[in-house]
């Protein structure tokens, strides 16, 4: 491959960190349109939109919490994982030096920050070999405040009165939104996964956050529940930053996987409005970013 992988990944990180995807800028503009301009909620949305523009113009991080970093790499069968790992780690270190990323990797035992965003499982890598000739690297930055608003429920849940069906799923997601309030930088994006074991459920929920504004599930039942939950969460009146307002969630994305007969997990990955992720595709000499 003649493309310089490290430079391509560095550009992926720069774009993700400093330039919000147009799909999510539109989501925020839509939410802003529903609020009175002079209200607290209206002011928050104006500030957010102004900040998005400024960050893009200055190539500065939209938010100073540039998050924990996850790379999902799909590569042609037979390739070497280490080629990708090495290039990505080099790009991450460079991106930290260039202030596209804040140093966010802290040793859990000593409390010491490595200052370059690398460490044990930092960044996180998920590899997948596929039969295509192209390489796809999906990158997600997720802020700590929003990560703290995530949850995993084991249903039935008697506190909420949630049983083992989609009505129960609806109830626990409403509960998670209520618990989150504005803490994770509302309006948030909710990635929801049903089924699987605890680990796969949490991972699957997070992966839903790659979907774009307005992208409904291909399953009609889940698509219906997504729209229902968006209305439910927005009816709580939490609003941007928890100041009160009409939009508490920008999107709800749900996916389902098979489960063991004895288990029924629902994972919720909460993402702040600053949805910073991006996809890099390399096909021969052609490099594209989305």
């Amino acid at each position: 491959m003649s493309v310089d992988l490290k430079s391509a990944v560095l550009e992926l990180i720069r774009r993700s960190s400093t330039s919000l995807h147009p799909s999510w800028e539109r989501a925020i503009a839509d939410a802003a349109g529903k609020e009175d301009k002079d209200s607290s909620a209206g002011t928050v949305f104006s500030t957010i939109l102004e900040n998005i523009k400024l960050a893009r113009d200055k190539s500065a991080p939209i938010c100073q919490d540039t998050g924990s970093l996850t790379f999902y790499v799909d590569y042609p069968a037979g390739g070497r994982e280490s080629n990708y790992t090495n290039a990505i780690i080099d790009a991450v270190i460079d991106a930290t030096g260039k202030q596209y990323l804040r140093p966010n990797a802290v040793d859990s035992i000593t409390g010491k920050n490595t200052e370059d965003n690398t460490g044990v499982n930092a960044p996180v890598f998920y590899y997948h070999q596929w039969d295509k000739n192209e390489v796809r690297i999906r990158f997600m930055q997720k802020g700590g405040g929003s990560e703290n608003c995530g949850a995993q429920y084991r249903i039935p849940d008697s506190r909420i009165g949630a049983g083992r069906d989609l009505k129960g799923v609806r109830k626990v997601v409403i509960d998670a939104a209520q618990q989150a309030q504005g803490q994770g930088c509302a309006p948030g994006i909710f990635g929801v996964a049903i089924g699987g074991d605890r680990a796969s459920c949490a991972k699957f929920a997070k992966e839903q956050l790659f979907r774009k504004y307005g992208e409904r599930s291909s399953d009609p039942e889940l698509a219906k529940l997504e729209k229902q939950l968006l209305d439910d969460i927005n009816s709580l009146g939490i609003g941007p930053m928890g100041f009160g307002g009409k939009t508490s969630a920008l999107e709800v994305f749900i996916a389902s996987q098979h489960r063991h007969p004895a288990t029924y997990y629902v994972s919720i990955a909460y993402l702040c409005w600053a949805n910073r992720n991006g996809t890099l595709t390399i096909n021969g000499d052609k490099v594209t970013y989305d």
């Binding site: 400093t18 607290s40 002011t43 928050v44 500030t47 957010i48 102004e50 900040n51 400024l54 960050a55 200055k58 500065a60 991080p61 939209i62 938010c63 100073q64 919490d65 540039t66 202030q99 990323l101 804040r102 140093p103 966010n104 802290v106 409390g111 010491k112 920050n113 200052e115 802020g143 700590g144 405040g145 703290n148 909420i160 009165g161 009505k167 609806r170 109830k171 409403i174 509960d175 939104a177 209520q178 309030q181 504005g182 803490q183 994770g184 930088c185 439910d232 009816s235 709580l236 009146g237 939490i238 609003g239 930053m241 928890g242 100041f243 009160g244 702040c272 409005w273 600053a274």
Partner: protein
């Protein structure tokens, strides 16, 4: 109406602020987050005293750059979630006579009581607006405990001009967060009961 306030902040100014007021803050303030709060409670260090007296703590771990002359600059500097400092904040406010705390997401009953006791307010910045807020930081005066705590957790002493904020908890016990929580709780309860 937007109120302009400048540090050091007098007790009278603080008492004149009400939850819901919009504020533009100017003057010297200090960033402090998790490790800094733990330190201020466990060791009560004196080196931050002169910077914090009648000034403002900012819950923020900035992205910073250093120029060729060795001077620091803020690149992106929005607020971090304040609730993590709930166990410490009231005591920090009292120990160092702090007049304001900037963050996001609001704080709880213990901090609210502390704000009333010492005379201070909680000021909410727009979470995620890192690039915009960095523009308000005109000068980085110094950084304390940089080596020990690392860049996001260090005490950054900065001069801000017209930092846009909303008072969400005042010195009289009012909290916009408690109000939104109460209202949304009632709505969520009703909604959950309606799903059968």
């Amino acid at each position: 109406m937007i109120k302009k306030i400048t540090t050091p902040i007098s007790l009278d100014t603080v008492k004149g602020l009400k939850a819901g007021d919009r504020v533009l803050l100017t003057g010297r303030i200090v960033t402090a987050r998790d490790a800094a709060h733990k330190l201020m409670i466990e060791k009560k260090p004196d080196f931050v005293r002169e910077y914090l007296k009648e000034s403002v703590i900012y819950h923020c771990g900035p992205v910073v750059s250093k120029d060729s002359a060795g001077k620091w600059h803020f690149v992106s500097a929005g607020p971090t979630t304040s609730s993590r400092e709930e166990p410490y904040e009231a005591d920090v406010i009292q120990e160092y006579t702090v007049r304001g705390v900037i963050g996001k997401g609001g704080m709880g009953a213990k901090t609210s009581a502390g704000l009333q006791k010492t005379g201070a307010v909680y000021l909410h910045a727009v979470g995620g607006a890192g690039a915009l807020i960095a523009e308000c930081v005109k000068n980085v005066e110094t950084v304390l405990m940089y080596e020990e705590l690392g860049s996001p957790e260090a005490f950054w002493v900065i001069d801000v001009v017209d930092f846009p904020l909303v008072v969400t908890m005042d010195a009289h016990g009012a909290s916009l967060h408690a109000e939104v929580l109460k209202n949304s709780e009632a709505k969520a309860k009703k909604l959950l009961e309606s799903i059968r």
